[in-house]
């Protein structure tokens, strides 16, 4: 994967088949969603490999000391994809896995959007367009303090409709914050319909380039490709990085892929849940 603007087109790529780990993570996400009987499943499934590579290989953190100053900061600005994040944070030990079974319940700590009071969550998000400016402030601080902590902000494509994203992009470009990386979960769909229909973002990489970012485009479900890009940051020592991750909404369960019904779903029947598990090849 070339660490530059590759010109990859925006159609869903030919991802390698999901491996056992990716399928297992999705199974745990189904379990989490089932606990609350609701969730943004499609939006979370498109994120899994991005978070997997970040939390398995790239980010520095100490799950036992979530506020360790030397950590990298990671903000899920598209907070509605939080089920994916929760599964990783639980697995890594930021909080007990039992919390996943209390998703959205009154006695749990995990809600339908990330809350900064939860260990491992840097900022409360959910209302879109907030994570990047906050991450920008963190990146400015890190540079001011002379630390090597990096800041990663994951935004959605629908979220990229928000003006505050581009306000922050202008600032980040101005500051040449090479310690800041934006990952766009570009699944080409938002709540109502396709991004093409609602608010076309193309040419997306060109936009980020024009705002002063070095960019890369990558198949957001290809673990090796993601790994290659994320291990070679920054792309340009004088610029922040934007990685356009081409993903598939609902990736991993064919009958929910790109189906807007599964952007957010509540009151999920036992039969539906069973077929979701079955489609993953899980029990």
């Amino acid at each position: 994967m070339s660490a530059s603007h590759t010109g990859m087109n925006s159609t869903p790529s030919m991802s390698p088949d999901l491996d056992a780990r990716s399928l297992g993570l999705r199974s745990k996400m189904l379990q989490t969603m089932a606990a609350g009987n609701r969730g943004h499943l499609g939006s979370a499934f498109s994120l899994v490999e991005i978070l997997r590579v970040l939390y398995d290989e790239v980010l520095r953190y100490d799950a036992r000391d979530a506020k360790w100053p030397g950590r990298d900061r990671c903000i899920l600005s598209k907070g509605h994809g939080c089920i994916a994040l929760y599964v990783f944070l639980a697995e890594k030990g930021f909080f007990p896995e039992s919390e996943l079974n209390k998703f959205c319940l009154s006695d749990g700590i995990l809600g339908g959007h990330p809350d900064h009071k939860v260990p491992g969550i840097e900022a409360s998000t959910g209302s879109l367009g907030h994570g990047l400016p906050i991450g920008l402030g963190m990146a400015i601080n890190s540079r001011y303090e002379g630390t090597d902590s990096r800041t990663f902000v994951i935004i959605g494509d629908g979220e990229s409709n928000e003006g505050s994203i581009w306000e922050a992009a202008l600032s980040a470009g101005k500051h040449r914050l090479s310690n800041l990386t934006v990952l766009v979960d570009y699944n080409k769909h938002q709540s109502y319909s396709s991004t093409l229909e609602v608010q076309d973002l193309e040419p997306l990489a060109d936009k980020w380039e024009a705002f002063g970012f070095a960019t890369a485009e990558v198949d957001g479900h290809d673990v090796e490709a993601l790994s290659s890009v994320l291990h070679n940051l920054p792309i340009n020592q004088e610029k922040p990085t934007a990685i356009i991750c081409h993903t598939v909404k609902g990736k991993g369960i064919e009958f929910i892929e790109n189906d807007m019904e599964w952007h957010h779903k509540s009151r999920i029947s036992d039969e539906e849940l069973e077929s979701l598990y079955a489609a993953l090849g899980a029990n």
Binding site: H116, E122, A123, S124, S127, G129, H130, L132, P133, I134, G135, L136, G137, M138, A139, I140, N141, S142, Y144, E145, G163, S164, E167, A168, L170, S171
Partner: protein, 318 residues
Amino acid sequence: MRQMCLDMVYELAKEDPRIFFIGSDLGANTLDKFKEEMPRRFLMEGISEANVVGVATGLALEGKIPYVNTIATFITRRCYEQVVLDASLHNVNVRLIGNGGGLVYAPLGPTHLAIEDLAIMRAIPNMTIVAPADADEMRRFMPQTVDHQGPIYIRLGKGYDPIVSDDNVPFEIGKAIPMRQGSDALILTTGITLKTGLEAAGMLEEQSISTGVLHVHTIKPLDVDAILEYCANIRAVVSVEEHTVIGGLGSAVAEIIAEAGFDPAKRFKRVGLPDVFPDQYGSQDSLMERYSITAIEVARVTKGLAEGRPDMAFSIEA
């Protein structure tokens, strides 16, 4: 008042490396000394208030104390969601300095008039709101902003406002200041209306109506104890604010008085802007006159209430 506020940010920043200054697109030469001496803590991020408040929140989450400054309308309503969800939900030490609270920008028209800033900021959990009366009070107040926990909205007056506050009275966030004692009526003020209230009380004194003035510089958290204490033995209570009568000082005081259940009930009146967008240009003073936020009007209303004319509680605009 504005100059004092920014001067204090500079002085405080010299002593405390946690302090940053963030502007949007302020006037040329604003805080030049700060920029020159502490350039890495001086940010001018452009006309992007949502981003600016988010950046401030990110810095504050890392332990910094960012003072953010722009025109009051833009630092409140333009980026309201960032103020609510970024600064306030995270309960971080972001300081929002709003230039020209109220009618200061009268010549520039309704787009620049912060007539509801107190109301919308008051509705936000964790928010502290302070409207000093003049530059001297600003000087006493600002050092307390450094270690205060949570976001603060600082409402600035025009600048060169007459000094009416008392240098001998210590300033404490959340503690209303009794400026004058009275046994017949009480006037509550905030920001520059302290001057209006004191003048009105003086006029009333000449008419043998003993009138106290309680200066409520902190709109939130409101000094409920002081308000109840100073209202307790007084029948006529009038609030004065350079703000819509909806949701500001008067509303806050009315809520407290109503819930306290005084018997006999207080005779109460809010003096402030009616529920309209101001429809004239001119000056801050001329708009204050147009909407009867004047010492003469406050004295007239207070006198009416003190003399048992409850009809005075209904003004022409209500």
